[in-house]
Amino acid sequence: MKMPAENSYLSRLNQDSGIRMKRKLIISDRLIASILRRRLKWAPGAVDIVQHVHEVEAKVNRHPYDFIITDAHVQGTRSADHLQYLRAQCPTAKIIVLDHDRGSLRESSETLSLHRVALPMTLDQISDLINTIGQ
């Protein structure tokens, strides 16, 4: 199967540098995702952005992600199902949930070892939090 351009770019970069670059997935509205991507200064090829649950399945089954930032509510599925699916498919990935619901997902984020970000937050806070998680 022919690899997409961004994958070949990433694998070439990995081979050249000898360091494995981490793959990230952002599951959110495209505007929010692009703000996060710019804010976090991630290399363009290393970040995938998806919006709908079907795209999530396709991406997650294809690539081993190290880092996933997701909305608590994704079009086409229930929050709990979506988070369980992500954890099942990516058992080692760090998953950050952007949560508007003021804590309704607290329990499932604990059982599935997810990091929950209660919104709204300032961009600086959110970048610091994401950059320092797991360090």
């Binding site: 495209r30 692009s34 300032t122 961009l123």
Partner: protein
């Protein structure tokens, strides 16, 4: 004669089909153009908001100008406001977005749209203004909170609450229409989110306005902000109200006081002349 008529009919049908196809093509082209514009707006806005660390957008003048030209029309402006509202749901950017709105000329355009002819347009302008944390002229709000148009009235009430907080409560009695339970819940949510410190004197002032649905709102607010033990006199007055819904609500809330509800702390005897005195005393289990 019949043949000519048939030819005319076929001609009309052909013209109709062609014009329908033409309309479809035009609609598709317009939609394609709108989609392209939306992508450009999103990309510019993402770039602008993602790369700015402080509230200063002055050094991004070129991007702001481009965004302004892209959103000069009504549709473009509406889309930009929707996107800004979406961003505000995620990130707290009050100064940044108000400065942006100002530079993009959105604020003044929205305030101008408050004077539009259609009530629905005015209501949408009110929603967009309070959702983007912009100030709405107070005289306008005072006029709209008692408006006949249901959507305009409700949204103006919410805008008033968001703008003035607890001080807006007594003013809500200006509306002679009954406030729905859903509207009361929306008001409580706004106060909980933006003005979490309860102001008892303003709550009492609103109660004393005498409007039944406003009194229901006050009772629910007392419950949400844990003021029931201090406000039980007010609730007792509500329990003996002629309004069945207010009476039921106050009785339920008083019963929820559990251990705090003591016969000696309830000056219920002052209502002994009330026709429902025995019934309500029984329901209060006093």
């Amino acid at each position: 004669m019949t043949l000519t008529l048939l030819k005319v009919l076929i001609g009309i049908v052909c013209v109709l089909i062609i014009s329908l196809w033409a309309l479809m093509l035009i609609a598709r082209a317009l939609r394609y153009r709108d989609d392209r514009r939306h992508v450009e707006i999103r990309s510019l806005l993402g770039e602008l908001l993602g790369s700015i660390a402080t509230a200063d957008v002055s050094n991004r003048q070129a991007q702001v100008q481009e965004l302004r030209s892209l959103t000069s029309g009504v549709k473009g402006r509406r889309y930009l406001i929707d996107q800004l509202r979406l961003v505000q749901d995620y990130f707290s950017l009050p100064h940044l977005s108000s400065e942006l709105l100002d530079r993009l000329g959105i604020d003044s355009a929205l305030v101008a749209s408050l004077h539009q002819k259609g009530n629905m347009h005015r209501a949408r302008a009110v929603v967009n203004l309070y959702e983007t944390d912009s100030l709405i002229p107070e005289d306008m709000l005072d006029k709209y909170i008692a408006h006949d148009h249901i959507y305009l009235r409700r949204e103006s009430q919410i805008a008033l609450i968001k703008q003035r907080g607890w001080a807006a409560l007594p003013h809500l009695s200006a509306s002679t229409r009954r406030m729905t339970m859903w509207q009361q819940i929306r008001i409580i949510e706004k106060l909980t989110t933006y003005f979490p410190v309860a102001q008892k004197d303003l709550l009492l002032e609103a109660w004393n306005q005498g409007d039944e649905s406003l009194r229901m709102l006050c009772a629910r607010l007392a419950d949400s902000f844990d003021l029931l033990p201090e406000m039980h006199g007010m609730l007792l007055e509500g329990a003996f109200s002629d309004d069945k819904r207010l009476s039921d609500l106050c009785v339920t809330l008083l019963r929820n006081l559990d251990g705090n509800l003591q016969p000696e702390s309830m000056p219920i005897s002052i209502y002994s002349a009330h026709p429902n005195y025995i019934n309500i005393s029984k329901r209060l289990a006093l």
